[in-house]
């Protein structure tokens, strides 16, 4: 029996690795995802291109503009002469924010009257726009507060107003709030799932499509041996990818790994049974590789989007949140982020691992039953 499983595994390995491009793809895919999620996937907002239209040009108006620049979030793209130019810049996306100060701004501020200013934000990217408005509000608020405090000090004389409340925010588990510490561990989950899903589902369907399934059926191989031969090689490739991602993630990107490696890879194996099971199951539904590929993506896209990998589950509507409980990625992401960032152990993570175990057993049994029928 081991002999036959071994032969089958060797055959699968040869088929996948025979093509040097395939080897490239298997190891390039995790690298691309790592680079993108390590460097590019950031929702931090910096270098906001800003058009300044200052018709006042007094020390006060210049001070306000200077405060925007000094904050480090804003880059003055151009000093626009009039509103038409502001419109032109915003239309072309050459400025995301326009800071418009009219004549009389400085005089109002000096005279103790309320000075007006206008901020125009390009709302196309609603997320960035909200953050930009927040920054701008903080800067004008600080300036306003300072002018107010000076005025109050003059008016109140000896009486001292209360100092107010000061909020000191502290972040746990990811002290510098680096996006990559959130994403890079998640890449372990998405890549291993994708690679094992595609390889398994297409490996079985290929035999059917090019007619070699009949040849397999006349060999003494049993259904269990067939399944083992069709899944173990890809599980190995998945684990290989995971090792690669963990190494690059910790050594190159400096993502902290605070928990136990044994727990990490132990739960990866449980997770892989689900991924392989789904891959096998898809293969039993499909006749051609085209169908297998499309079905795989039909499963994989929602699985990624609903897993909390990029979009927090807590923000989804209630019925969709229930749906996410069916998503194996959801559980594995909690485990992997917990192990990496929080150093969480089995005591906290056992419900997630148990859920994956149940899913894996269920989907594997289902797929194996269907395969037994086609082989018998």
């Amino acid at each position: 029996m081991f002999e036959r499983v071994w032969r089958m595994m060797v055959k699968e390995f040869l088929q996948v690795l025979r093509n040097p491009r395939m080897v490239g793809v298997i190891f390039v895919a995790p690298m691309i995802q790592l680079v993108v999620f390590g460097y590019a996937a950031t929702t931090d907002v910096r270098r906001v291109t800003t058009a300044v239209r200052d018709l006042d040009n007094t020390p006060e108006s210049r001070e306000l503009v200077e405060r925007f620049v000094r904050s480090g979030y804003f880059l003055v793209a151009e000093r626009a002469g009039d509103d038409a130019r502001v419109r032109w810049l915003l239309d072309r996306g050459q400025a995301q924010l326009a800071l418009c100060l009219d004549e009389g701004f400085g005089a109002d501020l000096r005279g103790g009257r309320t000075a007006r200013l206008q901020l125009i934000v390009d709302g196309t990217d609603s997320n960035t726009a909200a953050v930009v408005l927040g920054y701008a509000g903080r800067i004008t608020g600080d300036y306003s507060g300072q002018v107010l405090a000076e005025g109050l000090a003059r008016a109140a004389g000896a009486w001292q107003p209360p100092g107010g409340v000061e909020l000191r925010a502290r972040s746990w588990f990811n002290e510098n709030l680096e996006s990559r510490n959130f994403y890079v561990p998640g890449v372990v989950a998405t890549i291993t799932m994708l690679v094992t899903l595609i390889l398994t589902s297409m490996a079985v369907v290929r035999e059917r499509e090019i007619g070699t399934m009949e040849q397999l059926m006349v060999t003494p191989i049993s259904a269990a041996e067939f399944i083992a031969g069709k899944t173990l090689p890809f599980a190995l490739i998945g684990v290989g990818d995971a090792v690669l991602i963990v190494l690059v993630g910790t050594l190159w990107f400096g993502v902290p790994l605070r928990g136990s490696l044994v727990l990490l890879f132990g739960s990866l194996l449980v997770f892989l049974t689900v991924a392989l099971g789904v891959g096998l199951f898809i293969s039993t539904l499909c006749q051609t590789q085209q169908q297998a590929m499309m079905s795989t993506f039909f499963f994989f896209f929602p699985a990624i989007l609903l897993s909390g990998f990029m979009f927090p589950i807590a923000n989804m509507p209630e019925p969709v949140q229930w749906l996410t409980y069916l998503d194996p990625l959801r559980y594995f992401l909690v485990i992997i982020r917990g192990v990496f960032l929080k150093g969480a152990g089995l005591a906290v993570l056992w419900p997630q691992i148990a859920a994956l175990g149940v899913m894996g057993a269920a989907v594997f049994t289902l797929a194996a039953g269907r395969i037994r029928k086609t082989l018998a």
Binding site: M22, R46, Q96, T140, A155, F173, Q289, S295, P312, A314
Partner: protein, 377 residues
């Protein structure tokens, strides 16, 4: 090139598509599914952040402060904690994303000029949510603080001065900052890239793997005729998907369409031709369905999703990655779609992107035709 032969290939390919109803169905269901997910379920907005409070002071003012936070729509109070260990447990179990810690001397210090510090602890694992949540907390606490100061000024018999600055913020192009208006137009580009590659990446490789290519080789069919003929049916499916996406955007999600529909469909056709040819190029070069599907995944979906500016704004990326995004055709189409949809601008503004997109498509079609060899090896 003979139109008759080209049409014959197109007809054969169309029959293939029609016979495989499952693949065709998924080619249409996939865009609908993605649009629904992004339109209804997925958002990076942050609200109702679950919070626990550790109130060590227990005074009227500390309760007011907690109530101020609880009253904002951005936070939801999920109970109290009595120690840092309890806070940690709540965060570990993901019952809370953060905690407000009010020190015992809060009330006493509030009324002195020194000011009273309070602590906000956030679970930083999700950096985006944590940043936004602490921004909201800052704003809520500042509001409470100003209220206290103003009340005291009035109580001291002084007239509170006028606020020195009155910033009026106006948002252009997407007035109420709806994330959907931003995502849906860009998503059309990504969906087309994905669908196009899914549909064509296997077409030529399939003929090689099944051995039917030999039959095609023995016909008088020329390379360009085969490539274009195979593209046609998928082009029709792709344009149908665009139409579906535009209709869903308008009627289901209420995304404003301010520019020219004709320009939108024209650009979609250009982009689609390029994306389909790219998928076919994988198929031609690899001659293996498995490899072609993997390459399509790595070289089209991932960049289109992550580097096109769909979800992560390109200006925020580091310079090296920003340079790479210029090689992602979806980037130009995402920009075009947002310009047409939200800003209502036309070619006078979008000409550079339109030209680059056309260049991409022309190059892909030419490359697919050149690389296709009607020869058995």
């Amino acid at each position: 090139m003979s139109l008759r032969r080209l049409w014959a290939v197109a007809r054969k390919e169309f029959l293939h598509v029609r016979r495989d109803a499952r693949s065709l169905g998924m080619g249409i269901a996939m865009p609908v599914l993605l649009l629904c997910l992004f339109g209804w379920a997925l958002t990076l907005d942050v609200d109702r952040v679950p919070l626990v409070v550790w109130d060590q002071c227990g005074s009227q003012s500390s309760r007011d402060l907690a109530a101020e936070l609880a009253g904002s729509r951005y936070f939801a109070l999920r109970g109290r904690a009595g120690s840092y260990a309890e806070i940690e447990r709540a965060i570990d179990r993901r019952e809370a994303l953060g905690a407000l810690v009010i020190p015992p001397d809060f009330d006493r210090r509030l009324w002195t000029g020194r000011g009273a510090p309070v602590q906000l602890i956030v679970d930083g694992s999700d950096a985006n949510t944590a940043t936004i949540a602490s921004g909201y907390a800052q704003a809520a606490v500042r509001g409470y603080s100003q209220g206290v100061v103003l009340r005291e000024i009035r109580r001291a018999g002084l007239r509170p001065p006028a606020p020195p600055l009155d910033p009026r913020a106006r948002v252009w192009f997407n007035e109420d900052l709806t994330g959907r208006n931003y995502i849906i137009p860009g998503l059309i580009a990504v969906i087309m890239m994905v669908i196009a590659a899914l549909l064509t990446a296997l077409t030529v490789a399939r003929e090689w793997e099944r051995g039917t290519m030999e039959q095609l080789v023995s016909t008088p069919l020329k390379g360009p005729e085969l490539v274009l003929g195979k593209l046609l049916p998928y082009f029709a499916i792709g344009m149908f998907d665009v139409l579906l996406a535009v209709l869903m955007g308008a009627f289901l999600f209420g995304v404003p369409m301010r520019g020219s529909l004709a320009l939108l469909f024209a650009m979609a056709a250009v982009f689609l031709a390029g994306a389909l040819s790219l998928g076919m190029l994988f198929s031609i070069v690899t001659r293996s369905q498995l490899l072609a599907s993997q390459m399509a995944m790595v070289l089209t979906f991932l960049p289109a999703f992550l580097l096109s500016g769909l979800m992560y704004a390109i200006p925020n990326m580091p310079a090296g990655i920003r340079a790479v995004t210029y090689l992602v055709p979806a980037r130009y189409f995402v920009h075009l779609l947002r310009g047409i949809y939200l800003k209502g601008v036309g070619l006078e503004v979008l000409a550079p992107e339109a030209a680059l997109l056309a260049a991409f498509s022309a190059a892909m079609i030419a490359l697919a035709m050149r690389k296709f060899r009607k020869k058995l090896t």
